[in-house]
Symmetry: C2
Subunit: 176 residues, 2 copies
């Protein structure tokens, strides 16, 4: 699968997953793709925890209300560290977002699906903190995202996007 | 070029570019890959302006001090809109970072190089604002990033990264 094809085919899959495990090799490959993403001033502020232990994953899913990815056989949790990188500014949000996009593309290449769950974990319910606690994440890291990983059991549907002409131009805003 | 290969080969290229134009077709393909990235609640907060007009690009380069990508024959400028997406929170930084990562991978697939320039444009010198003004960008959009696009004239070197084991674990922080 080439890059263009993958970027166009990738979508947020919220359906059920097949009861089929994800290999450790595939989980490692996905995380390696994520950690290969660039980071502001190469601070490498993103860390990852893959969970494929069924009992542990069930415990974590039970913390999430309303529930998400209940049937996923594995998930990757994204941690970030707010490290000042340039003139006192942190770029850790950009860093982890680039890492997540790499992982979403890698998941697709391996024939699987995923979805970027962030707002549900970082809102005022602080579900991310509860998951981090269960995973033994120390002070200084924030758990900001969960990516389910697995083989889809339902058809994959893509969301509609605005026309290209409304979001991209040549040699000036709104041109061509 | 497949996904894993591209994510591992991508690096930040700060060298000189060949005096060889980038085709419009390639610029469009790169921007399409960028706009195919996911966005929080599908708000599609990222917009793009490609600049390949030599006179306009020279004017923009002259605004940037210290200078960057002086020899690049084209550049893509990234605009963002802070649109509340979920429980009043904006995810536009995540949105544009994912779009940028897609574009960096697409550039590589097309045999070219790029580099994510953000901090230099968004710091207290407000160079991004000056570039936005020159490109006719209206209120409500912020210009946050420039991506040069072109064929490299120098060898491409990759930066060292921390060992995988220091940033990725299985079934718990620091495990395996």
């Amino acid at each position: 699968m080439n890059i263009s094809q993958a970027t166009f085919e990738r979508t947020s899959y919220r359906g059920r997953y097949q009861n089929r495990p994800v290999s450790r090799e595939d989980l490692m490959m996905i995380m390696k793709a994520g950690l290969a993403a660039p980071s502001g001033c190469n601070k490498q502020t993103t860390s990852l925890i893959a969970v494929d232990d069924p009992a542990l994953l069930a415990e974590i899913k039970a913390l999430i209300d309303p529930p998400i990815f209940q049937t996923a056989p594995a998930a990757i949790f994204v941690l970030t560290q707010a490290v000042p990188a340039y003139r006192g500014k942190c770029f850790n949000v950009q860093d982890y977002a680039a890492a997540i996009e790499n992982m979403l593309l890698a998941v697709l290449e391996l024939g699987m699906e995923s979805c970027w769950y962030e707002g549900h974990l970082t809102d005022d319910d602080h579900l991310g903190q509860k998951i981090a606690q269960r995973l033994g994440v120390p002070e200084g890291y924030e758990l900001v995202c969960a990516l389910p990983v697995g083989y889809p059991a339902e058809p994959v549907r893509r969301v509609a996007k605005k026309p290209f002409e409304e979001r991209a131009w040549l040699n000036g805003f709104g041109k061509e």
